[in-house]
């Protein structure tokens, strides 16, 4: 299978709408985009629709792709915007949470843990906890899911996630911190003991 990168030759081929290059791009990136869409909270059918939408937009915007980022980063950017459009149409908004205060409460005035974290056990790997992870991801805000999934998806660097989301690297870090702490809290409530007893 041919691998599409942002090399000049590949870019030229894509811009010419070369059938082999287009097919290779579709084959290489479809499932990865589908996985990201599911990670962002869309169901099976919505995720498939989003993948199709991404490639339609890709075809109309390929002439603007200069190859300074990876093709996958470009496609994730399109996916993100399509995902946000869909969410807006559903009326899902970011919600304020009290996580900063909760995080601060984990530490005393000297910055030491008030309730020491427990040693993580293998329970997280069990099927039951795998199900809990899906449920806990649902508790994150759309932006937290986007950052979390894009950072973990192919270990996309913070700089690329920053480009895709249009957020500063600092903001990406803040959102990732909140997403991870919320996941930890949620998993704790579902039986994964995070604090030593």
């Amino acid at each position: 299978m041919r691998t599409v990168t942002a090399s000049t030759d590949d870019l030229d081929a894509l811009r010419r709408r070369d059938p082999d290059a287009l097919a290779a791009a579709g084959r290489e990136h479809s499932r990865r985009l589908y996985r990201a869409a599911r990670g962002m909270g869309f169901d099976n059918h919505e995720a498939e629709d989003l993948v199709q939408d991404v490639f339609l937009i890709f075809l109309t915007s390929i002439d603007r792709f200069e190859g300074r980022s990876r093709l996958s980063t470009w496609l994730f950017g399109i996916l993100l915007r399509k995902a946000q459009e869909r969410r807006r149409s559903r009326g899902r908004e970011e919600q304020h949470d009290t996580l900063d205060e909760e995080w601060a409460a984990h530490f005393d005035a000297a910055g030491r843990w008030v309730r020491p974290p427990a040693s993580p056990d293998a329970a997280l790997a069990s099927r039951q906890m795998a199900g809990a992870i899906g449920t806990c991801l649902d508790d994150l805000s759309p932006q937290q899911r986007e950052v979390f999934v894009l950072r973990l998806q192919d270990e996309l660097p913070a700089r690329d996630v920053s480009n895709v989301l249009g957020l500063t690297v600092t903001h990406i870090g803040v959102v990732l911190h909140r997403a991870r702490v919320l996941m930890r809290k949620c998993l704790d409530m579902k039986g994964w003991q995070v604090n030593a007893s």
Partner: protein
């Protein structure tokens, strides 16, 4: 001197690698000697692994022929003429 709160917050932001060398060394030393922060860090890694595993598992829900259908559609309609998108996205790091 970094506190547990400083170290755990930096670890959770995923930005340890961007810190100056002296800060990275402090974080490494702190994690080496502080079992609480080490456990917190291990918990985050376990959560990350769990999420990656979940993402891989939901990928199995995708139609087996998704990639081929997308590839065929791209080849059949390279101008994307069947559908217009008036709100093209911005260029993410074009």
């Amino acid at each position: 001197m970094m506190t547990c709160r400083d170290v755990s917050t930096t670890v959770a932001t995923g930005r340890v690698g961007e810190q100056p060398l002296t800060t990275r060394l402090q974080i490494g030393m702190h994690l080496a000697i502080c079992v609480h922060c080490r456990r917190f860090w291990q918990q985050l890694r376990a959560i990350d692994r769990g999420v990656v595993g979940w993402l891989r598992s939901v990928e199995n829900d995708a139609p087996p022929d998704l990639s081929e259908r997308v590839a065929r559609r791209l080849v059949a309609d390279p101008g994307a003429s069947s559908k217009t998108h008036p709100t093209s996205p911005g260029a993410p790091g074009a």
